[in-house]
Symmetry: C2
Subunit: 408 residues, 2 copies
Amino acid sequence: MKPIGPIPEGYGVLDGELAVAGVPVSQMGAEAGRTPFFAYSRSLIERRISHLRTSLPDRIKVNYAIKANSYTPLLEFISGLVDGLDIASGGELEMLQQLGIEGQRVSFAGPGKRDAELEAAIAAGVTLNLESENEATRALAIADRIGTTPRLAVRVNPDFELKGSGMKMGGGAKPFGVDAVRVPDLIRTIVDAGCEWRGLHIFTGSQALSAEAIIEAQGNILALADRLAREADIALPKLNMGGGFGIPYFHGDEPLDLDAVGGALSRRLESLPELLSEADFFVELGRYLVGEAGIYVTRVIDRKESHGETYLVTDGGLHHQLAASGNFGTVVRRNYPIAIANRFAEEPAEEVNVVGCLCTPLDRLADKAFLPRAEVGDLVAVFCAGAYGASASPSAFLGQGPAAEVLI
Amino acid sequence: MKPIGPIPEGYGVLDGELAVAGVPVSQMGAEAGRTPFFAYSRSLIERRISHLRTSLPDRIKVNYAIKANSYTPLLEFISGLVDGLDIASGGELEMLQQLGIEGQRVSFAGPGKRDAELEAAIAAGVTLNLESENEATRALAIADRIGTTPRLAVRVNPDFELKGSGMKMGGGAKPFGVDAVRVPDLIRTIVDAGCEWRGLHIFTGSQALSAEAIIEAQGNILALADRLAREADIALPKLNMGGGFGIPYFHGDEPLDLDAVGGALSRRLESLPELLSEADFFVELGRYLVGEAGIYVTRVIDRKESHGETYLVTDGGLHHQLAASGNFGTVVRRNYPIAIANRFAEEPAEEVNVVGCLCTPLDRLADKAFLPRAEVGDLVAVFCAGAYGASASPSAFLGQGPAAEVLI
């Protein structure tokens, strides 16, 4: 038997079924119209953001990194709850423009921005987090050509990392941002060129569960921002401190202690150095806002035995939930939290492998998991599916096509 | 420095550029209209299939598993060169039907076939490779309801594996097929129910480069097929022996010795047991037919330095080439064959990291590769991109959208 990850807070039982905010999974399915589907909970997103607002100092603004989940209704909903939105491509900018979101609320990071993307962003008044000196030159030339003052920030490749993070974005050679040592010169160049100076973006890593590590990284970020501002001899109007707040996916993972992070940040903001004293401070979060608010639901098509093991074969799979299959940035496959959604009140009774419908051994949703006995037609829910699920999976693989999505 | 994989045969230089069958990469790009793009070579596909035809005994038929690459023009082209087509979903059936391909040429394997998929396949005269007793029951009931005689084969979960294969599909508990020990009973059930009996499908693994391992697996497959036919007391009209023929991706990989495989198979077919003597024999190949015939081409957007390392940032990435990034079924990331396509005649001159445009450290196309010096605007080609590239990658990730595709 292999353990499964912890089921996030906010999920309960209603008439024996998995439910969230009073909506049972059968009702979500009726709304989706078919399986497999993703269901995202407004209530859980709201609760998470409100927890952030109470834990973090008032001065900290919250940005949503839309790469985590850009399902249109979710994007529309969350854009009313956060202070700003972070994008990573021209395609994501178009999504926001279609919702009528002002460019002034948006910033754009990404190491490979095409000229057309730079132009669209500058024209829309989006803040560009510059990733290199070359990109700065291109952005200034484009802004000059279209007669717009560009809103420019510099993304810093910091000399330190976020300890224990799932993905490290700093501490050594990286494709992201500009090495800290070269940042002051770049600041002077773009400020002298007449841009609207928008400060710094310092991202150190993602998916960290240790408050201590995040507190340490935030301290380093503030110190680095101050040092760079002093070297460039300019005040910071804005500091994007990145995110890094993780969510528990696997057995043994503990939720991040948000109050500890907020407390430490409060104390730091009380004694800011002069060049940071007027800055707007942002955290940029994706997964932390929406990851636990989503489930992926797929139906059992077959129940079969092979060499003494039981397989539940579902109509879903890695084409919708690549990360849960263990094929996205993970070395050792571990089980996400998973449940038989229409038997959520039943006790575990057997060890099963839950697989997808694809004809590849990679397509596995749970390995030797201890679950209530499930039959053909039952629903399997995979939790922590609100971020990097639908959008980060190869939905066209084997001609399957995308899952349905609903916001409940 | 880390080595890169071997560049496949058939690629050469034309006016300093990478070219295949007389077409330089700039001409492919003009046809594609934008970067990034995939280019697939008719000539290399033809050459590979003709090599198969001369190496394998005449009696062996060749099926194409369309999951490897279902780009419509490629599918149309290859369907004229192979004997049959293998699908893994109702979506793939629709692709073939849109091309006017007869159901009689098609067989359908996959552990999670929905009722609607079974019905569409039975109605079209497609052979179903049954994956379980439940699936047999469902297929027979559907056929009865729609008044059609179903064409049924049984997919066997063999007790042995293909040694050294990239993915093992046999040898122990598996979600695929029916354990060999239960196959004779299932054969009797479906034959007694009046189906059109289509024999067995025995798939042992994929992506093996050792002729010896494939020869051994094929011997085991023939012996198992004979044993199961004798136990069920029925002749086999067809035996799908699976594939498993690998292609070299990484440094040190040697191409499969196809002549050795063909020679051994010839000798085996000379002395077939009675119940196999009238069978049609098929190999089912995907990657082996198209993998090396395709390249993925992306443009350098930025060239930057970080802590002494050089990064070429391209407009492509893992959203089109997940496998090359090392995030699809691989534990240790290794470099695919890669080249600066518009400087294909130049000598390597520097060590670079080639990354995609996505804002994640996972998005890496080459690690510390020794390549000719490349500038912004140059083209990077990733080889072995003809199979499991476009279709097996999360093209919507970060709002990027799919790459262009051309058949040349």
